[in-house]
Amino acid sequence: MLTALALGLALLGLLAGVALVPAGRWAGPVVLGGSALLSAGFALLAIGALAIGLPEGVLVLPFGPAWAGMSLALDGLSAWFLLLLGLVGSSASVFALGGPRQGLVAWPLFLGGMGLALLGADGFTLLLGFELMSLASWALVALDHREAASREAARLYLVFAALAGACLVPAFGLLGALDFAAIRAAPPEGWRAVAVLALGLIGAGAKAGLVPLHLWLPLAHPAAPSPASALMSGVMTKLALYVLARLLLDLCGPVQPGWWGVPLLAAGAASALLGALRANLEEDAKVALACSTIENVGLVTMALGLALLFRGADLGPMAALAAGAALLHAMAHGLFKTLLFLVAGAVQHAAGSRRLDRLGGLIHAMPRTTLLALIGLGAAAALPPLSGFASEWLLLQALLGGWRLGEIGLQVAAAAALALAAMAVALAAAAMLRLFGLAFLGRPRSPRGAGAREANRFELAGMAVPAVLTLLIGLFPGLALALAAPGIRVLVGPAAMPPVVGLAVGAGEGHSAYAPLVVLLLLGLVLVLLWLVVRRRSPALAERGPAWNGGFIDPPPEFVFGDPLSQPSAAGMAQPLRRMLGGSLLAGREAVTMPPPGDTRPARLEAGFEDRAALALPVPAARLRDAIADQVERLRGLTLRGSLSLGFATLVGLLALLAWLEAR
C-alpha cells in the first residue's frame, strides 16, 4: 500500500511536468483530471487502511538526504488527514475543470507536497513536503500577480511561510533524531522540550493561521483561485495542525507535563473568537470564509490542547473525547469549508463578484448551488444534524469536562475557554446567517448579479461531493469516529477508545450522548407537524405576491432591481456586532462628518475596523528588521583591517567556545 501511495506522489510530480509541456487545450483536463483521480485513489487507500488495517513498517526510498533515504509510513493520524486530502483534492480538482485553466503546474505539486508531508516518517521528509506545499501554494496565491493587492498578499504569505519553516526546522532539529521511531523512543526533555513546544506552536500556528499569526490568512485565501483557496483552507491549515499534533502529542510523547495544553488552549480560544468576530464584519465573501477558517482552526487547536491537558491528568476517556473532537472537526471543517469556498467560486463565476454588496437573490438564479451552500453554511453554523454540530458538540462536551482537571488554575482555564468557544460558535452561526442572507436571499444588488446563471456541471459535481460527505458525517459521526480511532490512539495512547456509543457519539456510558438520527427524526416530526398545522389553519391556496419592501415606498422605475437603500448592506448587517464587540477587540471606529449649515456636501458616516492582533507582531517585526538592516549596513563600511579583525575575532571566539566546552 505504501508503494502505491509513493507511486501516486510520483505521478503527481509527473503531472506537474506534463503541465509544463505545451499540450494546448488538453493540458487542463489531463492535469486536473489526473489530480482528481489520484486524490480519489489516496482517499480510497486511506479509508481502506483505516477500516481494514494500517500498513506495517516503513518504506525507505532509495534516495533522500546525504545521510539516509527518505522514509514513508502511514499511521492512524496521517491516514485520517490523507483521507481529508484525498476527498478535498478530488472535489476541488473536479471543480477546477469547470473554470479557467490556471496554475496547472503548481496544482499537482501542491497536492503532492501535502501528501509527502503526511506520509513522511522522518523529520526531513515531513519538512520537505511541508515546504513544497508552502511554495506551491504561494505560486497559486501569486497567480494573479498583475494586481497589486495580490502581489502584496503573496509576499506576506511567503513571509509567514518562511517564518513557519524557520521555526519548524529547529523544532524538528531539537528532537534529537530524524527518524520518528527513534524520537518516540527517546523524547526530548527539559528546556529542549519547552523549546520544541514554543517553536512548534509558532511554526505550525503561522501556517494554520492561529492568532496572532493570522495576518496572512484573510489576504492570501481570497487572492488564490477558488479551488486553490478551498484546498488551502480545507487541507493546508489542517496539515499545519497535523504537524502540531504530530510534533507535540505524538513525537514528544506522553512524558510531557499536562500544562503543555494551556498555550494551545489559549491560542485556540483567541483564534476562535477573533476569527468568528471578523467573519461577521468582512464584506467580501471569501474573506469572511477565510476568517471563519481562523475560527475553526482555533477550535481544533483548543481540542488538541484539551487532549494534552486530559492526557497529562491521566483522564484517558476525556482525552480520547477531546482528540476525537479535534480529528472530527478537522475533517468536518475541511469538507464544509471546501464546499463553501467552491460555492464562493461558483458565485463569483456566475455573478461576477465576491463582494456581498453586489450579490443577492441568487436563490432564484442558482437554486442548486443555493441548496449546496445551505448545507455548507448550516454545518459551519453548527446546526444539527450536520457535521459541524457533531464535532463542536464533542468539543463543548470535552470543555465541560474541564472540572475533572485536578488543579484549580487548569479548571478556570477550561471554564474560560468554554465561554469563549461557546461565544465563537454563536458568532460563527451569525456570520453564516449573514453570508447566506446577503448572497442568496433578497433582491439582486447589481445588474451583473441579476444575470447570474446556475453553475456548470463540473462545478456542481465538485460541490456535491463535500456536501454529501458533510451530510453523511453529520448523520453518522459515530462511524467517522470509529474510522478515526487509530488516529485517536496515536494522539492519546494505545488504550484509547473513540468516544462512540453505537451510532451516537458521547464520552461513554453514563455521559450525555448525541444521536443525530434521533435528532433528525424529531426535527422532521416537528417540521411535518408545523406544515400540517399551517395547511389546516391557512384559509385558502397559497398565493405569490410581491415581497414586503420593509416599509419603503415603491422605487422609481429607473431602479430595475428595486431601491438599493431598501435592502440591508453588508456593513449595515455587521454594525451591531461591530459596535458591541469590535470596539475593544478590533479597534472598530465610527465617525460622522457633518458639514456646517449652508454647505451642500452630504453628511458622511465612516466606519471600519482594524485587526490589532494581526498587526501586533508584524509591525514591530518590520521595525526590528529595519533596525537590524541598518546595523548590518554598517558592516559594509568597515575598513579592510576591520573586516579582517571581524573574521579573526570570530575565529578566536569560536576557539574560546571550544576550549570552554572542552574544559567542562
Binding site: T639, R641, F648, L651, E662
Partner: protein, 222 residues
Amino acid sequence: MGFGQLPYDVAHLLGGGILLLSFMLLYQRRVAAVVSVLAAQGGLLALAAAWQGFVQGAPQLYLTALIAAVAKAVCIPLALRWTIRRLALARGVDAALGIGPSLMAGVALVALAIMVALPVTTAAQALAREDLAVALSIVLLGMLMMITRRNAILQVVGLMSLENGLVLAAVGVAGMPLVVELSTAALVMVLLVVAGVFVFQMRERLDSLDIALLHPHRGERE
C-alpha cells in the same frame, strides 16, 4: 615517543623556535628586520620538515623541506627586500596596536591555542599534539600580525607566517600526503603574487602603501 626522547625533543625545539620567531615578527620596529625574521622562520620550518622526514621515514618531506628552504628562506625574503628597496618604502613599522599590547595578545592567543588543541587531540600521540598546538599558535599569531599592521608589506608577511604554521601542522602529522602540502604552498604563492601586484598597483596609482587609501574604493561609504 615522549619527552626526553631525541625525535620528540628536536621537533619540539624546532616548533618552539618557529613560535619564538613569530613573536619576534610582532615586536620588530623595522620592516627590513621583519623580513629577516621571516626568512629565519622559513629556514627553521625547512629544518623542521626535514627532521620530520627523517623521523617518520617519509622521503617526500625532504622535498617539502627543500621547497620551504628555497622559497621561504631565500626567494620570498629577497623579493620582499627588493620591493622595499625599489619602492623606497618607509622603513618603520606602522602598528595599529602597540608593541606591548600586541605581545600580550600574542601570549593570550598561544594560551588559547594550547587550551583548544591539547584536550581535543587526547587520542593522538604526544608529538602530534604539541605540534598541533604550536602550529595553531603560529597561525593565530600570523592573523594577529595581519590585523595589527597598517603596512601592506607587513600584512603579506603576516600571511606568510600564517602559512608557515599551516605547513608545520601538515608535516607534523604522520602520513599526510605531499599533495596537500604542495597545494597549500602553491596557493600561498599565488596569494603572494596577487599581493605583489596589488602593492605595485597601489604604488603606481596612489603613491603610497597605506591601505587606508583603499577604503573609498570598495564601497559607496567612507
